[in-house]
Structure formats: C-alpha cells, structure tokens
C-alpha cells in the first residue's frame, strides 16, 4: 500500500542573483572552467571521495558530467552547456566562460533586465550575421580537395586538450588517423544525399599512442582460445554472411498469456534443438560461410556449424548490430524457420589480428563506410580523454562537411569580433537600436560588457602569467611570455598571432587587451593568398562556435531574467 504524505511547502526566494551565495558559487564555477581553457589549461582531477574512478580532464563534457551542482541557477547553466556539448561536441568551455563572464559583467552595471536582454540579443544577432557574412574577416573556407585545413582543424582540437598527454609527434600521428577514419566513412560514389558511415573506436589501453591505427571494416574482440578454434577459410570469392538478431540458444519464445501444459516425457529442449539443427542444415545448403549472432548460439548448433566449416560467432552485442548490418548488407534474421535468401550479406574476407595483448576477428568489407579506429594510450584516464577528443574531432569534421567554413582559432576570432562590435556600436548605434526604447548610453555600456566578456574568454587562454596583446589592424591576438622585458620592441617579442595567420614582420600597432583603446575597424575579407600560404593554422569549428555563442548569450539572458527561485523541498 502506498503511503500518502503531505507535501512540504516549497522555498521561494526573490532576486536570486543578488545573493552572496549565488555569486560565490558562480565565481567558483567560472574559476574552474577558465583554468581548464586552452592548450596550456590546467587539468582537473575528479573523484568522489569514496574511492573508485578518478578522472583527469580539462574537457567540459567530462568535467561537467562529474560535477554535482545543486543550486538551480548553476544547474541551468551547466545543463545548457552539457546540452550544447552533446549536440556539437566542441566549444563547451568557451560557452561556459562566456556565459559566466556575461552574467558577471552585466550584473555590475545594474541596468534593468529588460534593457540588458534586449541589447544582448541585438549584439548577438550582430555577431551571428557578421560571422555568417561574406565580409567576415575571421573565417576561412574549407577546401576538401586538400587535407591541409582539415588537418589543422583536427590538430587544433587535439592540442587544446592537454589531458590526452600527447607529444608533438603523437599529435601528428593521431590527427592523421582521425582524418583517415573520417574520410573512410564518406561513401565513394555518393550522389546528392550523402549518408556517412561510422568509425568505431576500439580501445587498446596500455600501448604506445604511436601504435594506434585505422582499419576498414569491423574488429570483433575474442579470446585467443576462441580464435584458435576458428578454422581458416580459404575462398577466393566473397564470403556469405548470416546475421541473427534473435537468440539461437534454444529458449522457448513467448508463449502468450495463457498457460502451456507439457505432458510428462515430452522434452521441449530436444524439440527446439531439432529446430535449431534444421536451421543449421538450411544455412549449410545456402552455402553460408559466416554466422554472426547478436545473442547466444546453442553449443550444439555451434559445433554442428563448425563441423561444416562455417564460422559461428555469438554474443556480438547490440552496439555492433547496426554497423554490421550496414557493412555486410544483411538483414538481421529474426526467424528460426525458413530464411529468405536475400537476407544474407557478404564480406570480402576475414582474418585474425593481434594488437597488443588483444585478439580480434577482423571482417574486411567489400566497399563500405565502416572503419575501426584502434586507439592506444598509456593509461585509462589518458585513454578516456583521448577517446572523447577523437569523438569530438570526428564530429567537428562532420559538421564542417555540412558547413565548409572554419573560424580562426587561438583567440583571434574573439578579439576580432570584439573589435568589430566596438566599432559598430560606436559608429553606427542607430542601426542597432532602431525603434527600441534603449538609449545610446545603455548600448555603450552593454556593448562594453559584451566585448570584455569575449575578451576575457581569450584572456583565460593564458595561464602562465603572460600578457595578451591585440593589433590594431586585424584585431588578432598576440601573446607575450611572462618574463619578457616590459618595454621592448614588439615585433621581436611577438612572432605570430594566436591563429598563426599573421606574423609580426608587418607594420602593426599593438596594445594590451585590457587597456582602453580607440575603436577601430578590423580588416575584413581575408586575402586568399594568406590562407593558402599558411600551413599551420589554429582553427575552430564554425558551426560549434556559432551555436556556443548563441547558447552562452541565451543562457545568460535566461539567468539574468530570473526574479524568483521556487525550490521544491520534497
């Protein structure tokens, strides 16, 4: 019997953002995310105090999923970032830092939420339309005919995750592998609508990163003994495959809601086994070479099939079913009776392979878009981080395929964008305000808060006490090391801007990022030759960054708009 209990009344708090507790928790969260940002970001070790799993990471997805946030406002913030990351994989920390900065900066101003939200929205749409426009000075087209830019994109992602613990050489190797794995998933003769394949990441922990590799087809892990038992097939033509999704263990399937009475002496097990052997006979007569089963195959059937030189592999698991279906072109069989001949598929060849201490059964496809990425790393935590990074990189490549543009990374986009907004709000405020009730002063204040939030994101790239500068022509970011002499010849100290597009040999003017500057027009429209010549650019995914920007501003607006928090205490 259920117990009815009176509900406790909820706790209702007004103006939640003004309380000290919320401010401190927000600033703690901000400190955590800022310190993780960028290639020189600090790692976080997360463990739950009861022993068990320890996670070392600097990625937002791992970090936020392990953090336990209790305050509802923080929960809104973290879930919105997690949701962003789960749909775009990249730019999670950027979103988090920008959102925290926006809330903090705007709160200091003390304007009414209505004005703030309205203006933030205007500024956001200004950013979005600039980043999407032809004249945008911080994005470059992605050329799929050469691997250069794609490699830059992958490499930037790998270098920005220091917890992977990769050396320079390893980074090069892994980025090349990721790119290969991605290219293998693109169908060769695609017309119009492209359906991408899948790269499966196969773990191989405790090995050197350099040993990682990409293989076409699917690897099924097996014990050595099992593998020895499989007889080698020598066949010149493709192998015929039957893939079962139903169990072949001899269970009696669903008998309905009524009762089934079995007379004494009747053995249903035997009856079912007979049925299974009949199935085996059919498979033999259909000249099947390979039987794969998602669930369990009855040992007798297995034995029977082996006797007739058919390889039978069971317990494949549901995760491999879809790639297997796709690769072999089979139709998963759900019947123990007659099998339709067109539900068989084929593979080009099978072989056994040994990587490290693991043994695999390798299915080699005829022509398919499924590949396996064997990923090695020294220890568990570093491997987990590397796997997440690879997934991110693969996802980013997919997104880039849809929208073939990349943004300049290394903080250059943010500084450039901030310069653009400053210039726009100073020189053309009417076009932004239009028919709104906001005044120009309010716009200046909010724009300054917005730009400095963007610039603080960039500022958090620097963790070693260095200085960050910006040039007054392109609006790019330049960083100086901490121990450099204060007044010096800038071109000698600075070699390259953050993204690596420009070098200091040009006649440029620099100023400190945090100092007040006169607004200037950042040069738009990237010259083509500049993009072509640079081989080592730092690049970001356009789609992910655009969405990150939107999510950050929308979430900040949402949080600034809160007037009450009602906590259900049940």
């Amino acid at each position: 019997m259920s117990r009815l209990e009176a509900k406790k009344p909820s706790l209702c708090k007004s103006e939640p953002l003004t309380t000290e507790r919320v401010r401190t928790t927000l600033s703690v969260l901000k400190r955590i995310v800022t310190s993780c940002y960028g290639p020189s970001g600090r790692l976080k070790q997360l463990h739950n105090g009861f022993g068990g799993y320890v996670c070392t990471t600097s990625q937002s997805s791992a970090l936020l999923s392990h953090l336990l946030v209790t305050h509802p406002i923080l929960k809104i913030l973290t879930t919105s970032i997690q949701n962003h990351v789960s749909s775009f994989s990249d730019c999670g920390l950027f979103t988090a830092i920008l959102c925290c900065n926006l809330i903090e900066n705007v709160q200091r101003l003390g304007l009414t939420p209505t004005t703030v939200i309205r203006l933030n929205k205007h500024l956001l749409s200004l950013c979005i339309s600039y980043l999407k426009s032809e004249t945008c000075g911080c994005r470059i087209p992605v050329d799929f005919s050469s691997t250069q830019i794609l490699l830059c994109l992958v490499r930037s992602i790998l270098t920005s995750k220091p917890a992977c613990m990769l050396t320079r050489k390893e980074t090069e190797h892994v980025s090349a592998l990721i790119l290969r794995a991605f290219l293998l998933t693109i169908p060769e003769n695609a017309e119009g609508h492209i359906i991408l394949g899948k790269s499966l990441i196969v773990p191989l922990k405790g090995q050197r990163v350099i040993d990682s590799t990409v293989l076409p087809g699917i690897l099924i892990e097996m014990s050595e003994v099992q593998l020895m038992r499989l007889l080698p097939i020598k066949k010149s033509t493709a192998l015929k495959v039957a893939l079962f999704c139903t169990t072949l263990s001899g269970d009696i399937s669903d008998t309905g809601e009524g009762t089934v009475v079995v007379s004494y002496g009747v053995s249903l097990e035997n009856a079912v086994l007979d049925q299974l052997l009949n199935l085996g006979r059919q498979l033999i007569s259909d000249h099947v070479d390979l039987v794969l089963c998602q669930k369990v195959i009855h040992p007798s059937l297995k034995q029977f099939l082996n006797m007739h030189r058919i390889i039978a592999i069971d317990r494949i698991g549901v995760t491999l079913m879809e790639p297997l279906t796709k690769m072999t072109g089979t139709q998963p069989i759900g019947s123990l009776g007659s099998i339709c001949p067109n539900s068989y598929g084929s593979v080009k060849d099978v072989c056994t392979a040994k990587f490290g201490s693991k043994h695999f059964f390798h299915l080699i496809p005829n022509e398919a878009t499924i590949c396996s990425l064997l990923l090695c790393n020294r220890n568990d935590t570093a491997w987990d981080e590397l796997k997440l990074t690879c997934q991110t990189a693969l996802h980013v490549l997919q997104l880039t395929l849809k929208e073939p543009w990349a943004l300049l990374g290394g903080g250059c986009t943010e500084t450039h964008l901030a310069a653009y907004i400053r210039h726009k709000t100073h020189n053309d405020p009417e076009s932004i305000l239009k028919d709104d009730e906001c005044t120009q002063t309010e716009l200046q204040l909010i724009a300054e808060a917005f730009c400095s939030a963007l610039e603080s994101v960039v500022g958090s790239l620097e963790h070693d006490g260095g200085e960050i500068l910006t040039d007054m022509k392109y609006g790019h970011l330049w960083s100086v090391q901490a121990d450099s002499p204060c007044v010096a010849n800038w071109p000698d100290l600075l070699s390259q801007c953050g993204c690596g597009l420009y070098n200091s040999q040009e006649e440029l003017n620099w100023s400190f990022l945090r100092s007040t500057r006169h607004p200037f027009v950042p040069q738009s429209c990237l010259p083509h030759e500049a993009v072509g010549s640079a081989s080592n650019l730092i690049l970001d995914c356009l789609t992910a960054k655009l969405s990150g920007l939107q999510v950050a501003v929308e979430t900040a607006n949402l949080i600034l708009d809160l007037s009450y928090v009602i906590e259900d205490k049940n």
């Binding site: 009524g258 249903l268 998963p332 123990l336 539900s343 939107q550 607006n557 949402l558 009602i566």
Partner: protein, 723 residues
Amino acid sequence: MLSSMAAAGSVKAALQVAEVLEAIVSCCVGPEGRQVLCTKPTGEVLLSRNGGRLLEALHLEHPIARMIVDCVSSHLKKTGDGAKTFIIFLCHLLRGLHAITDREKDPLMCENIQTQGRHWKNCSRWKFISQALLTFQTQILDGIMDQYLSRHFLSIFSSAKERTLCRSSLELLLEAYFCGRVGRNNHKFISQLMCDYFFKCMTCKSGIGVFELVDDHFVELNVGVTGLPVSDSRIIAGLVLQKDFSVYRPADGDMRMVIVTETIQPLFSTSGSEFILNSEAQFQTSQFWIMEKTKAIMKHLHSQNVKLLISSVKQPDLVIYYAGVNGISVVECLSSEEVSLIRRIIGLSPFVPPQAFLQCEIPNTALVKFCKPLILRSKRYVHLGLISTCAFIPHSIVLCGPVQGLIEQHEDALHGALKMLRQLFKDLDLNYMTQTNDQNGTSSLFIYKNSGESYQAPDPGNGSIQRPYQDTVVENKDALEKTQTYLKVHSNLVIPDVELETYIPYSTPTLTPTDTFQTVETLTCLSLERNRLTDYYEPLLKNNSTAYSTRGNRIEISYENLQVTNITRKGSMLPVSCKLPNMGTSQSYLSSSMPAGCVLPVGGNFEILLHYYLLNYAKKCHQSEETMVSMIIANALLGIPKVLYKSKTGKYSFPHTYIRAVHALQTNQPLVSSQTGLESVMGKYQLLTSVLQCLTKILTIDMVITVKRHPQKVHNQDSEDEL
C-alpha cells in the same frame, strides 16, 4: 473566542494569503514580467512565467491558499490564460471587502459586545455579500457586457460571415499572449511560430474541431530538442513520432499503412486458455504453423501495398524480420495517445490479423505520402506524411532550446495559447436581467425593435450554433446594403475630412494597427446611428479611399494596416431573442450573445472600460448591496492595469492613462492605447466570472478547522488563521 477569530479572519486571512501570492505573481505579469525558476523534487529545473505552474510549484499549506490555487487551476484548465490576473484581481477584491469591514467594525469594537454574537453577525453579512456577488455575476455582468462594453469590441475575423481569420490580428493577439508567458527575448519568435503553425494546420473550413484535436494531442504534436538555440525551432509538415523505426525500408509510390494494437504473430495460448503439449512433434508443428502464419500475413500485407506498420505493442523478432523481408517499415511501442492521434487524423481503425487465411483486400489501410527517418540533433525520429481525412493538416513543431526547462515553458505557453484560441472562437451566450423602469428600458426596447426588423429571434438559451449563423447571413446582406447606402451619405458629408485631419498624428510612419483602428472608430463615432455600421470592412475601405484619395502616402499605409482590426458592431445588432410577455413590469430577462472572436486592445482596456461602466451602473442602482458590490468590483478591476503600468512613467503612467481613457469615454471619443496587441474578451469575461465564483466560495466559509492526523480523536476546535 477562537472561533470568532476564525470567522473575522476569513476575509482577512484570505487577503493575507492572496497578498503573498500577489507579490510572487506580479513579478512575472505582463510584458515587463520576469522568469521564475522552479525546481522539481527530482532535481529538474523548470522555467516558468505561467501563473498556474508557479502556484502549484509552491505546494502551499494554508487551506485557503490551497482553495485559491484549486480555483486557479480549474480556471486554467478551461481557458489556458489568466492565472496571474486571477490572483491580482482576487487580491484587490478582498482588499476592497476588507476595507469596508474595517470601517464598520471600529464602533463595534468600542461597544465591546459579545464576540461570539459578532462573529455570527459578520458571517451572515458575508453571506449576503456573497449572494450579491453571485447575483451580480449571473444577472448584471452580462448585461453590462452586452449593452455597454460590446460597442468597443473588435473582431479577430476579417469577415464575420465566413469567419476568415485575419493573420495580422491573430499575430497581435498571440504576441500579446506570449508577452506574458515566455521570456521577453523569445516571445516574438514563439508567437510567430504559433501563428505559422495555426495557419499551416488549418484548412479553409476547419472549425472548432481542429482546436479540440490539437489541444488534446498537443504533447504528441511537438518534439523538444535540447542543446540548440531557440531560434532553430521550426514547423515540420507531417507528423513526427518520438520513436525510431524498428526496421526501415525506403519505399515510394503508392504507400499504405496499417495500425495494429496486438502482436501479429499468433501465440501458443491466449489469456485464460490452456495449451496442452502432448508430443515434441506437436510442438514443432505448432511452431512451424506460427511461423508460416506470420509469414503469410506479412506477405499479404505486402501484396496490399502496405509499406508501414504502426504498432502500439512490441512485435516479436519474427514479425520484424518478415516485415523487413517484405519491404515494410515498422514502428513499435507507440503510446496509446500517439495511436489515437494517428487514428483521429486519418480515420483508420486498427488492423486485426485475420483468423482464417483470407486473400481478400484488407479494409483498414490508409495512404501515406511519405515515411522516413528524421534526424534532429543526432537522434532519430519517425517522420510520417499522413493524408488527413479531417480538417486538420498534420504539422509538428520542433521546439529547440538550450535547456529542457525552457522548452517545457515554450510548450506550455503554446498549449495555453491554443486553449485561449479555442475559447475565443466560441460564441458566448449572455443572459441578464434589466430594469425597464429606468433609462435602460428605452435602450433595451430599442434593441428589441432593431433586431425585430431584420431577423427572427433564435431559440432562447439552447439555440444551436448553426441557426444563428444562418440568421446572421441573412442579416448581413441587409446590413451590407444599409451600410453602403449609409456610407454614401456619409462620404458626402464634408465634416469627416476635417475631422480626420486631426487624427493624422496617429498615422505616423511606425503605424500600429491599434492606432489605425482609431481612425476607423472616429468614422464610426461620427456616424449618428452607430448601430447601422456593421463590420463590413471593404465597402468602408473603398469609401474611405475614394473620399480621401488626396491624402497621400501616409494614409495609404494606414489603410493597409486597417485590415488588421475590424469593428464589430454585432454585439449591439444581435437579436434580443427572448422577452417575457410582461413588458410593462419592472424587470425583464434578456438573452443575447457575444459573437466569437471578440477582442480588445491590451493594456488594461477591458478593465478600465468595465470599471467605467460599472461605476455608471452603480450610480443608478437603488439597492445598497448591489451598489456596494459593483463599486468593489469596479475598483478592484483597476488593480490589473495598475500592475501593468507599474514600470511606465510620465505620460504612460497609470493615472495619466486612466484619466485619458475616462475622458475619452465621457466625451464619446475612441480610446487610445499606448500598446499594440489584442486580447480575448472571452478570456477576460471567463476570468471575471471565475474570480467572482472563487470569492463567493471564500466568503461562504465561516470557519476553518484543522484536523491533525487522527480525525477520531477529540480535538479542540482550533482554527488556523495565522499564515
């Protein structure tokens, strides 16, 4: 003593409760309102500006508070709007009542009579007041709506005869609605989305039925996607099911679908029966039979061009396999709501696998335009192009947002808007009593006469919807002629030209529809016989443009916008159907109706108007109770615009607006509203009646007895009047 405190506190306690609720609710009312964050016990967070949700989330303990929340919930369930206004209005009413008792109680206190007696005296007084409230609500309110307020109503339909919806006025209505329901950075977008949805789903002849369907199945008609910006929300043609295909086989050409509610594969035994297995061979043959039977059924479906199987239960592997072999896509495990939605759209009953093997055609199949997987943020959905057999053209809304809480808020608001529209498109019957021995008598007589000319009286009370419409059609033709002739006369007059000149300030480049409607209203005000002008817009428009063609661009723009709002004079034109034979006596019962689609500009217009007319009414009243009740209601009504104009200063502050409005009413000039947007009169009317009912409920309670845990144990009759 204790019980006396309880009784005296009944209004006081209710007021205290309502004031606390008002404080919370008033922060998110109106366009300037802000968001409230609610956490659920499960740890989820919900953003809301929905008054009903907030009140429920509070989990109030106080019995009166719980009663108020219940009243709000039941009101919301019906109308989908007005929870916040409910609380504010109730609070002001209670304040008014409390003020009266305070004034009267003081001398009593000095006299120090026995408290027990005073308590009962008070109780009976409250009872009188509550009865007076009830009388007001049932007998007087409708009359005021019909006789005074209706002349200010606008209609959302561009032509009342065919009830064609005017898109721009629907936009205004929805924008005003969403202003109070979703975050202010999204309300424009969401209202646009709703408007698009509305027009995409409707066929030209769809009626109330569509609203019912969409309202009932709103949960199934939208899909929430987290992690994307709100601006990615969109409308998709066809139905999106939140499931993936169990097996998908691309198909084209003539595609049919079936719905099943049980497993297609025959089972050994059904519920309540027994299956006796005597031999292994028997088992094998029955298994073989089952297999062959399933295969045959699926083949048969295939032969009938069935390409899609929709199942409310999980189908066995065997069925899925044979479906795949036969090129049939399968969607399993649909909820009963989803199945019933599909059935309502295509009017299809479930397919029952035939017992005996039949080669005949399967009766229960339906054509499908397409069925394909839809990928939203790397999650797969089933996208069906159903061919509708009802007036609803299936479309799904994809709602995106950074967090689930925000998506839920938007979903909630969209659903509320649907409810509001559903109410708006209903006619409202007004029944009231009027005194014929005062001035009203002549006017009601006039109405009677007027209506008698053009149409027969429909059945009182239970007149079907169909008939009055036919009447209206007949009437409208007459009216059209009248209007045209009248307008010709009107345009021959020289006055309007001059008069209109003065209204030019209203038609500034940033023309708002409400502004332009005033121009029209001016025209109507100039007309001596207001009743003559029906909502025939086009003749009026034509007339205008011929008469003032010299006016230039600015007016031209305003004429385009004029489409937005139309003047309904139907309220006063509608028949006074039932009149008691005893005309000569002092009272007569009238019944009339408010046509569907009546709206008023936002910004407290309804409240100020009703306030004004109620005060006028109260002046004419003879009975003290009636006067008092009218006064209290009239004053409480002003509480709502007061909150709405809280943040406004200077010319737009509440006192200025109020004075302007009253002045305009006194001099018979059109009301000027500083805000754009429209709101449903129906919603307001229902809100008013709900609040009054809630108040009568509160007033009739004389004592609150708290029973703790064990009712059988004898308790002191202690009351609870502390908050």
